[in-house]
C-alpha cells in the first residue's frame, strides 16, 4: 500500500510512514481489529474450555453411576438366582463326569446300596429331567428318593416310644410308604414314562421293595404276611395297621 501523504511504500503493520513520518490510518484500524479479535478468541477459548470441563465432569460421573447401577443389578440378580446357578454348574459338571459317575452308581446298584445311591445323586446333582442321567437312571433316581424317605421313616417307626405321637408317626410313615409304593406300582410317574422298562429298573425297584418288606417284618414288628401285603394295601389300610402296631407298642410299654 502507499502513503496518502508522500506516496511512499507502506506495510499494514506500519503505524507511521517510514518516509514522511505521518500516521498510517489503516495500520491503526488493523491493530485495533487484531486486538479485538485476539480478545474475542481468548474469550471463546476460555468458554469452550469451561464448557468442555463441565461436560467432562458430568460425563465421568454419569459413566461411573451407570457402571455402579449395572453392577448392583448384576450382583442382586446373580445373588437372587444363586441356587439355580449353583445347580446348573453342578449339573454341567455331573454331565461331564457321566462315565465316571456311572461306574459308581452301577456299583451301588450291584450291592443293593440304594441309600448311598440316593445320597450320591443328591450330592452330585444328578437330576432326572433334562439330563444325560435320565435315560439310564431316571426311574431309579426317583425311586431311590422315595426309598430313602421310607427307610428313614420306618426306622423312626421302629424307634417309637411313649414320648412320640402315635398319629404323627403313623402319618409320616404312612405317607413315606405310600410315595414309595405308588412309584413301585407304576402309579406315580414323574419325569420319565415307563413304556419300555429296562430290566435294570425293575431289578432295582424289586430290591428296594424287598428291603422295605424286610424292614417291616424284622424291625417294625409286622408279620411276614402283613409286610408282603403292604404294597397292594390302600393307604388307609396301611395306616390302620401302622397305628395298631404303635398302640400295641405303647400298651406293651416298649
Amino acid at each position: 500500500m502507499k502513503c496518502e501523504y508522500c506516496n511512499g511504500n507502506l506495510s499494514l503493520e506500519d503505524e507511521y510512514c517510514p518516509h514522511c513520518g505521518k500516521p498510517n490510518k489503516h495500520a491503526r484500524k488493523h491493530i485495533d481489529d487484531m486486538r479485538r479479535f485476539q480478545g474475542e478468541f481468548e474469550d471463546t477459548k476460555r468458554y469452550v474450555r469451561d464448557k468442555t470441563i463441565g461436560y467432562t465432569e458430568i460425563t465421568v460421573r454419569v459413566v461411573i453411576l451407570s457402571i455402579l447401577i449395572a453392577l448392583i443389578l448384576v450382583f442382586f440378580a446373580v445373588g437372587a438366582n444363586a441356587w439355580e446357578i449353583s445347580r446348573e454348574i453342578k449339573k454341567k459338571s455331573a454331565e461331564k463326569k457321566f462315565e465316571e459317575y456311572s461306574l459308581v452308581l452301577d456299583g451301588y446298584l450291584e450291592d443293593g446300596d440304594y441309600l448311598e445311591f440316593n445320597t450320591f445323586c443328591e450330592t452330585k446333582g444328578l437330576y432326572t429331567y433334562d439330563s444325560v442321567y435320565r435315560e439310564k437312571y431316571g426311574e431309579i433316581i426317583n425311586a431311590c428318593t422315595w426309598y430313602a424317605g421310607a427307610y428313614e421313616a420306618l426306622f423312626d417307626f421302629a424307634d417309637f416310644d411313649e414320648d412320640d405321637s402315635v398319629s404323627y408317626v403313623t402319618e409320616m410313615t404312612g405317607d413315606a410308604l405310600d410315595y414309595f409304593y405308588k412309584y413301585y406300582l407304576n402309579e406315580n410317574l414323574f419325569y420319565t414314562d415307563r413304556k419300555e422298562e429296562p430290566e435294570q429298573y425293575r431289578r432295582a425297584l424289586d430290591g428296594m421293595e424287598r428291603d422295605i418288606e424286610l424292614i417291616l417284618s424284622v424291625y417294625c414288628g409286622f408279620t411276614e404276611e402283613e409286610a408282603a401285603a403292604f404294597p397292594e394295601m390302600s393307604k388307609a389300610r396301611r395306616n390302620i395297621l401302622l397305628e395298631e402296631k404303635l398302640e400295641a407298642k405303647l400298651q406293651n410299654g416298649q
Partner: protein
Amino acid sequence: MDSKSGLIGWIRNRFAKDVHRAGLFIMDILIVIFCLVMVFALWFMVYSFLEDRDKGYDAYSLQISMGGEHYQTLLEKSNANRAMGIGIRDADYEEYYAVADYFEAFTHFYMYDKAGDAAAEMWQKRMEDAESRMGSLSGEKENIKNWLGIE
C-alpha cells in the same frame, strides 16, 4: 457471547455455574450411595452362593445324631459327607462313618440273614469291615443292637 454481556447474562452465568456445581455435588453423593449399595449387593451375592453350597456336616453334628441314637440320620449325613469328600482320612470323622456303615450293614445283614437271602453274606463282609474301623466307638455295636431290639 451474548450471554456473557450485560447484567442478565452475568446473572445467568452465575446461576448456571451454581446449578452445575449443585448437579455435580448431587451426583457425587449418588456415587457414594451407590458404592455402598454395590458393596451390599456384592456381599448378598457372595453370601447367597456360600449359603447354597453343600457344606456337609461337621463332626459335632455326627456326634449328636449318634448320641441321640438317630443312626439312620447318621448314615444319611455320613453318606452325604463322603460323597462331598468331607472328612475322608480324618480320624474325627472316620469313626462316625464306620458306625454309620456298621448300622447299615448290620441292619441289612440281620434282615437278609433272617430271610435266608444270599445278600446277607455281602452285608456281613461290609459289617466286619465297618467293625474294624470303629476304633474308640466300637461300643456302639451293642447300642445299635439294643436300639433295634436284638439280643
